[in-house]
Amino acid sequence: MRRAFLGEFEELVLLVVAACTTDAYGVTIWEEIQQQTGRSITMSAVHATLYRLEEKGFLSSTMGGATAERGGRRKRFFTLTALSVRALNDIQEMRSRLWQAIPPGKFQLIGG
């Protein structure tokens, strides 16, 4: 299976889902991303990304039970799939390879 390309925001969302200690659903993910990045992000962007990732097979979702708040509407909980774990690992590996490939002292030289 060819590895699908992951965008920066997609990767971020996957990482947030991975990092969640409780069940991850729209609101928690949205809040976590805002907190972690410090950026203001619309809910629709998060939802669109979540569904896109699900379509690509990076996430799977199940509907939770009926809730008392939010008008009785159920939550959709997202979990990582094997594919996404592999993809995140790949990215991580590639990045560390690249990090190691940076000649020592180069950053100091540029950053001054």
Partner: protein, 885 residues
């Protein structure tokens, strides 16, 4: 479950429409969760704004299209709501609910179809009325020349729809916009048909007739058909009658002219005139005006025919009229002065044009004098009004009843939702059901129209066919009505009920209490209308009764009328002598034919008076048992009576202002030479005009120069057959070339009530229809209220209420509404019938009993309708109503 603050509904709605359903729930839930949280943190206003802002971001194709991309997302794929199994289920359920209460369903559907059928019939009628004369190709440019008299002060007086021989040719010559003219004069001629002589209505007209009007000729050249004298164009019916074939071109028709039959060549056979044509002819003859007539300028004032003109397209009517009047003023200048002097004429005629298509329904300038089917638009208006009301009430009733029944199906809707019925499915189901019902009603209505059309034609004096309705505009109208009724009837269960949470409709008993102002006011409206119509019907009936039973002031029983134009004194004498040999014939009295009127200067002060001018002999008054109040009748003992004496009626005396009428002078000045007569007797007023007109001045003369035109023959009772045979034989022997026709005077008199009889029928029809439809509405409401109060009735019965007290409880509500409707109905009814009765100089008084009768009738009908339901509710076993939930 209810929260203090909710996000804006429209935003939710937006979300619901933009998002594909499988992701809607969690997305909406997430947004609401955030909203709730933000409400706590920053307040409702800001939270709302943020919610809307967030929602707006979902308006993009990604979310909308999500459905199509993910097929696997739905765990339980909902079958299409048009799946055959579902359709079958809908149909089964629909039929079951219909059969559950058969009477109810039948009344509902039949009520609507009756309303629809009535509306269709009336639409046919009015469509036919307004379609009159519209088939002519020249139409927007066809006009009739009319005139109106104005007093010297410029005040408009009477209208004149007729013109003479001058107006057509003179205006056409002088006004360039008038392309051509056609005069149309009605006359009667005697026609030979085999060995019989028939009096036939014929029309004299100009050669351009077939150019102006679109009457197709089956054979013959429309351009030249009427150009030569002694030619005739006949209708296909006439050709069939005369020659037994429509192939009649070149054949001869014998028409009496100057007391002998002369051959006329058929130069054209015309197709039958359309039913909706004001011009209906069987025989057309060329109009020939002798040159000396055309030289006599007094003919400007002799009006007796209709003149039609064809204008150039886009001609300015006002300019044409102005030019016409200029021509008249210039050409008739001297004659106007002469006539003023001679007849003491003060008024001034102003010519105008009337659109050809306006003629049929015009009241000021009606289609008379040879034009057929003159019609009063009031009939159409009233009928259309009734139709519209009936239709609206029927539709609203249908909606009301359907909605009332669907309330009982709230549980069904709840169950359907619980087992996964989507809202759109419910909408389709209920709308489909109401459309099905509606369709049945429409189909029934069409059937009904086809069934009653022959009777309706008879009543309305028309030849309507159903194919008339197959008109694109009417069909669109009916389809629109169908859709609106269907939508309205299905709207409540489909849109409102399906929107409720199933928990609500399943757990709590559904509440359909409430004031129901709409339905209540509808009942009041319906019964107001019904009561007005009942009062109107009662009034018309009693007025009709009054007129038909009122004494005419003369004895019209056993009186045969035989017409013979130009009946001379000697001929009358001969007829009288011959007829009196038969034992069954009592007496014969000749009289002038038709209706004559003239003017004279009367009395010592030479007051000018117009009056009915009757030429009779001394037998006339005694024969009709008309009393003479003063003076004497004409008598053979006074040979000078025929040249010197006249009798007048009471109205004449009153009009002339005479205290002592006998011996007064009547001075005829309008004829060739002035003649002076003396009044020798006063006759009691009798209804010589139709009884719905006022008796006016009348004068009797025996002047020998005036020909008689008909003879009244009094026969002994129960000798009709032999008397008529005797009369016919004698007539044919004496006048072989005159057409023979007879009628009974009392039957002729009855015919004069046709117009009021028509009113009677229309009103009765309208009243019955409205009452019926109103009762359906009331019935539906009564059912609803009885159903609503089942438990209450059960408890009341358990506690000892009697059946009658429960019936009273259930009925009194509605009877109060009906009573309330009288408050509106009676003033309206009073005003309407008062106005209507003003048309009749001899009329009944508006009496209280009519209103009392109406009130009790309406109340009774309403009571029976309501009690049907309430008695059923009251006698039902309380166990049943209390045990089941």
């Amino acid at each position: 479950m209810k929260k203090q603050t909710t996000p804006p509904r429209w935003a939710d709605w937006l979300l619901e429409t933009c998002l594909s359903p499988h992701i809607l729930e969690d997305v909406q839930g997430d947004l609401h969760e955030v909203f709730d949280k933000r409400t706590m943190e920053v307040g409702a206003g800001k939270a709302r704004r943020e919610f809307v802002w967030a929602v707006l971001h979902y308006v993009n194709p990604y979310f909308f299209k999500a459905r199509q991309r993910t097929n696997k997302s739905s765990e339980y794929p909902s079958p299409s709501f048009l799946h055959p199994a579902m359709l079958r289920n809908y149909l089964t359920i629909a039929l079951r609910t219909l059969t559950l209460n058969k009477a109810y369903s039948i009344i509902n559907v039949v009520g609507l179809s009756i309303g629809l059928a009535a509306a269709m019939l009336i639409m046919l009628y009015t469509k036919d009325e307004v379609s009159y004369d519209r088939f002519h190709a020249n139409n927007p440019n066809l006009y009739r020349i009319t005139s109106r008299d104005y007093t010297p002060a410029g005040k408009p007086e009477n209208f004149q729809s007729n013109t003479g021989i001058f107006q057509g040719p003179k205006f056409a010559a002088g006004v360039p916009e008038i392309k051509s003219f056609v005069r149309f004069e009605s006359n009667r001629k005697d026609l030979k048909q085999g060995n019989d002589v028939k009096s036939q209505e014929v029309f004299f007209t100009d050669p351009d007739f077939f150019q102006l009007f679109s009457f197709p000729l089956l054979s013959g050249d429309p351009k030249t058909a009427l150009q030569r004298p002694k030619t005739v164009v006949i209708s296909e019916d006439m050709a069939e009658k005369q020659f037994g074939t429509t192939d009649a071109l070149g054949k001869l028709v014998l028409i009496k002219e100057n007391d002998q039959f002369e051959p006329f060549t058929v130069t054209g056979v015309a197709a039958k005139c359309p039913q909706n044509s004001s011009i209906k002819f069987d025989v057309l003859l060329p109009k020939i005006v002798p040159s000396e007539e055309f030289a006599d300028n007094e003919n400007w004032f002799s009006v007796f025919l209709n003149t039609f003109v064809l204008l150039t397209p886009n001609a300015n009517i006002k300019a044409v009229e102005a030019k016409m009047n200029q021509i008249y003023q210039a050409d008739a200048k001297n004659t106007i002065v002469e006539m003023r002097k001679k007849f003491d004429m003060k008024s001034n005629a102003v010519y105008s044009l009337q659109s050809f298509t306006d003629m049929h329904l015009s009241t000021d300038l009606p289609a008379t004098n040879g034009l057929a089917d003159e019609s009063n638009p009031t009939f159409s208006y009233i009928l259309s009004g009734i139709a519209l009301f009936v239709l609206i009430i029927a539709c609203i009733n249908f909606v009301n009843l359907t909605v009332a029944r669907s309330l009982k199906r709230a549980k069904e809707i709840g169950v359907r939702k619980v087992v996964g019925g989507g809202r759109s499915q419910l909408i389709i189901q209920f709308l489909g059901e109401s459309f099905l019902l509606c369709f049945i009603a429409f189909a029934l209505a069409v059937l009904l129209v086809i069934l009653v059309l022959p009777t309706f034609n008879q009543l309305s004096n028309k030849a309507l066919t159903f194919s008339y309705l197959l008109d694109i505009k009417l069909i669109i109208g009916y389809v629109a009505l169908f859709i609106i009724t269907g939508l309205l009837a299905g709207f409540y269960p489909a849109i409102v009920l399906s929107g409720y949470n199933p928990v609500q409709s399943l757990y709590s008993r559904f509440k359909f209490t409430g004031k129901n102002y709409l339905q209540r006011s509808l009942v009041v409206l319906q019964f107001t209308l019904a009561s007005v119509l009942i009062v109107a019907t009662l009034t018309i009936y009693s007025q009709f009764n009054f007129l038909t039973t009122k004494s005419l002031g003369y004895d019209d029983s056993h009186m045969v009328v035989v017409g013979k134009s130009g009946l001379t004194r000697s001929e009358a004498r001969l007829l009288k002598d011959e007829l009196q040999q038969f034992p069954s014939i009592v007496e014969v009295a000749p009289k002038n034919g038709g209706f004559w009127g003239t003017i004279a200067k009367v009395g010592s002060d030479e007051k000018q008076l117009s009056f009915a001018y009757e030429t009779v002999d001394e037998t006339y008054l005694p024969l009709f048992k008309i009393p003479i109040l003063a003076g004497r009748n004409f008598s053979a003992d006074f040979p000078g009576d025929s040249t010197h004496s006249v009798l007048v009626n009471e109205s004449f005396v009153k009009e002339a202002g005479w205290k002592n009428p006998l011996g007064q002078a009547v001075n005829f000045f309008a004829g060739e030479k002035p003649e002076k007569y003396t009044v020798v007797g006063v006759v009691k007023d009798y209804h010589y005009v139709p009884i719905n007109q006022k008796i006016k001045s009348q004068l009797f003369t025996m002047k020998p120069k005036n020909d008689f035109g008909k003879a009244f023959i009094k026969i002994k009772p129960n000798t009709e057959t032999e008397s008529l045979q005797a009369i016919e034989r004698t007539f044919k022997k004496l006048f072989p070339i005159s057409p023979y026709s007879y009628s009974f005077l009392d039957e002729d008199n009855l015919k004069k009530y046709e117009s009021i009889a028509k009113w009677k029928q229309i009103m009765l029809f309208g009243a019955i229809l409205t009452i019926f439809i109103s009762c359906i509405g009331l019935f539906g409401l009564a059912t609803l209220s009885a159903e609503r109060r089942t438990k209450e009735i059960g408890i009341r019965k358990v506690l000892g209420a009697s059946v009658s007290s429960i019936v009273q409880l259930l009925s009194s509500d509605f009877l109060r509404l009906v009573g309330f409707s009288f408050l509106f109905a009676f003033p309206i009814a009073y005003y309407a019938i008062d106005k209507w009765l003003e048309n009749y100089p001899y009329r009944i008084d508006i009496s209280l009993w009519m209103f009392i009768a109406t009130a009790s009738l309406a109340t009774l009908i309403a009571f029976f309708t309501v009690s049907f339901q309430s008695i059923r509710a009251a006698i039902s076993n309380p166990i049943k109503s209390l045990r089941s939930e």
